[in-house]
Symmetry: C2
Amino acid sequence: MYRAPVDEIAFTLKHVTGFGADLDAGRFGDLSEDLVDAIIGEAGRFASEEIAPLAKVGDEKGAVLKDGTVTTPQGWADLYRRWCEGGWNGLAAPEEFGGQGLPTLLSVATMEMWNSGSMAFAIGPTLTIGAIEALEKHATPELQKTYLEKLVSGEWMGTMNLTEPQAGSDLNALKARAEPVGDGTYRIFGQKIFITYGEQDFTDNIVHLVLARLPDAPAGTKGISLFLVPKYLVHENGTLGERNDVFCASMEHKLGIHASPTCTMIYGDGKFGETPGAVGWLIGEENRGLACMFTMMNNARLAVGMQGVGIAEAATQKAMSYAQERRQGRAAGAPKDGGMSPIAEHPDIKRTLLTMKAETQMARAITYACGYAIDRARLGEGDEAKAWQARADILTPMAKAFSTDVGVEVASLGLQVHGGMGYVEETGAAALYRDARIAPIYEGTNGIQAIDLVMRKLPLEGGEAVAALIKELRADQKAAHAASSLGKTGERLAAALDDLEAATGFMTEALSNGQVNEALAGATPYLRLFSLVIGVAFNARAACGNENSGHAALVRFMAENLLGETGALRQRVTEGAASLDAAADALLSV
Amino acid sequence: MYRAPVDEIAFTLKHVTGFGADLDAGRFGDLSEDLVDAIIGEAGRFASEEIAPLAKVGDEKGAVLKDGTVTTPQGWADLYRRWCEGGWNGLAAPEEFGGQGLPTLLSVATMEMWNSGSMAFAIGPTLTIGAIEALEKHATPELQKTYLEKLVSGEWMGTMNLTEPQAGSDLNALKARAEPVGDGTYRIFGQKIFITYGEQDFTDNIVHLVLARLPDAPAGTKGISLFLVPKYLVHENGTLGERNDVFCASMEHKLGIHASPTCTMIYGDGKFGETPGAVGWLIGEENRGLACMFTMMNNARLAVGMQGVGIAEAATQKAMSYAQERRQGRAAGAPKDGGMSPIAEHPDIKRTLLTMKAETQMARAITYACGYAIDRARLGEGDEAKAWQARADILTPMAKAFSTDVGVEVASLGLQVHGGMGYVEETGAAALYRDARIAPIYEGTNGIQAIDLVMRKLPLEGGEAVAALIKELRADQKAAHAASSLGKTGERLAAALDDLEAATGFMTEALSNGQVNEALAGATPYLRLFSLVIGVAFNARAACGNENSGHAALVRFMAENLLGETGALRQRVTEGAASLDAAADALLSV
């Protein structure tokens, strides 16, 4: 059973990022290290003791749709209620609306734990957090007054409605429409698919944020507006009124996260109310809906990255515990009369378990650094804030894509460690392998993250933002070189940084020469290359200033066993496109 | 829907291996190229038109156990009957017992197609093929007379019973026992788990091959004997008699291959017959059961390798077909007024699809070369036969481990190409991802394959067998260097061969110095390194002598985009053990 790794989380929080020093310096106001530790500890307890025990019933029973009503598995609605009572839903939400106003970084750390407990559970509130952000930044005071407090307390949940059958990665093709009524409200019509927790039995009301087009809207993404569409209309006194004209028409039968209802939502079918059309309110400006949605989406991408970290941690723990119990064969060097050894003593299993631990910690470092950059951007001013925002922007696609790839890889390795028992559902290793697989897909596929990194993040501030990050990584490398506990980490990081700079140079030149296809062809290996370097360098940074022999040994393992991949990735980026084009012409033409 | 890639299969058969030249030279007797093509074509038709359409019901309904009886999904028993009528079960079986005596290589090629059609279906007959081999080589003429013809025709199926709860990878711990009755029969007692098709409704009788210990047997693997235990005893005239004392007590609830019943078998519980104990007959010599079982196991490992290739091919086709239909975004360079492009035109998706195609073809080359080596060993004499047997022995762990890792990787990439639809079970991409995951585990985990390669195969003939293979690969490299259609393949292969030789040298030295743990720590990366080089070199070989521009372009893609990984793998092998040990001491000690 999962036990939240509160020490590793606290260590990463404080030493991979500058958060520890900031707390000492009072940069986060009254927030003290003790309070941070207490929050992490209590979240760890809740995730381990309350969420994790309900993961299995969630997977086995799943959410059930009947007559438009979704029933979540036994105990789940109550779990959600207790989770909200703990104040977890509003952890980083504004105090004005009842939140605790704590740093995003703390929210990130707790999200890791909720996801380790159960990804199907954790994903629901994640959408609410996104809705809170969008309303806080873009909604009118009236809408804020009606909805924000209940979303922050968790009394109501929020959803994000983007995807339509013909419009997934490409929102240009979006068709849902909104007709202005003239009284400030709109009537929304259309079908949305893959809506997470689109219908559920946790809360009395559900606040749908829906992308749709106004009648006179320009084509493409510049003609998309964002609307708030509640399941039940809300009276002025805050009580619930009529059912709105939106319902869940079907639910997907998915590979994993079975307890998370993935709904097809129908707006404006005339099923409810006298006038057809779901009543909605505009959020932000007309035709600027995508910008509002991106507010949510960036943080949602980091949140999905936390799913990767959470699953990877849970899979690693499960595999380690199995490998320490299960005995097969006698390890070389084990006493002759000691019988069979725990499989954790066999070198090949050691390699597997350490690879799992190392990849998880690399993803943790990148995601936490991203959360920290978001906080610093919010706290800072002027150029400093801008620099931190750029850092967050650069790290976000890596936090999402690298971590979710790691989630899948580590869950797969964890299943493998269990041998035949891993393939049997009873063990739970297979459920992690199934759950993990959605994270590289939603909130922008990992391919789209890589494209985002190359096409939008590399050019930030004329390339200076990425250059500043690489300069920091070089400093980490130098420090690692001087650290005796880190073995060849300094040497390996130096080579990997050369690979990163060569690949970055290639990308920058390709973009400035208009060779877009060459750049795009290398986007995925580039993202992985960048992430590996950051994952090792940031962890090495933490190892340098702080005594933690386990962490130092893990960093050395990362550098000496995992980082070598950067050479091949660099080659794919800088020299891979020609053979890719030739093979695509020969083999992929329709 | 899957269409058997008969041209690629025929090309690989003939040109990756020496089979094409052998046919011309008459080395395979009357077997002509036309007949080979006809067999591949008809197998392709059967796999595409008869097996593949039943895969979905197999996955969705699965096999069902009730009161000790297993019911396979609707249509499956009839599918099996038609498959046997086609003569496929006895394709490579001895003519003396009704088989067609065709080369193992053809059996390998057809197995790929059965597995692409449905892995849950294909795995059943695979076990029968193993049982046929074991009986042919080790059973008494009486047992052969009673059982072989019916196993070859497919009227009865065979099973392999090794695993017990405490004895999986380590058969030393095996407990099932066999008591001699005195009349030449034995009574078998014990529990066996994970028995594939241990109970089914395809055939009237089931021939279980069971490992068990005689009363006076030495401890460990030198005290294990092999027994034939039929579900129903057989009268002298060949008709079925009494039910034997063996039954299926439960069936696993698995991640995938749902239609393949995975049974817990109980022997000698007294449930059937008057005297407790399942009646069994010794196969081969007492206490030499493991040697007999290894006869089956080596070929079973290659057969599992074919599951990897089969799944990878099916996943690649499914993803390519989806990517050519699904339109999202406009690819750079596409006409402005052409609307959204098929996603197959986006460079990142091209990379994914080509990686899938390339990895599949690399695994195909290794497995087919292994099948060919088995044939040459059987046909040859003296030193030649010995050399080919050593080649088969070396290739077997790579055929098993590399191909099944590829199966998982490619199925995962294929699911990713489908985006959100891939996560929905309806599409079938998720089913391939689930099915693929068992293959790296059973018939010896991939970790054990790597250990086998390093500990038992590297030392073959004092290292000369591996040296001879590497010499051949060097010749392939030289030829590739001279081939203008192969881009930088020659150059990249040269570097990769240097990596392979360095890693091989390290392993050889570690073993000769008694540094077993150092060698074992690098076994898995060493297997992958060796496999990548072979996969590219063997395919380059085929590309050099034959006009096939698609194949040449794919080889170039392999070399320029995938082969670069060998540098990191070499580093892991030659320098990875120290940090692995240090991290294991710090983090994995119980």
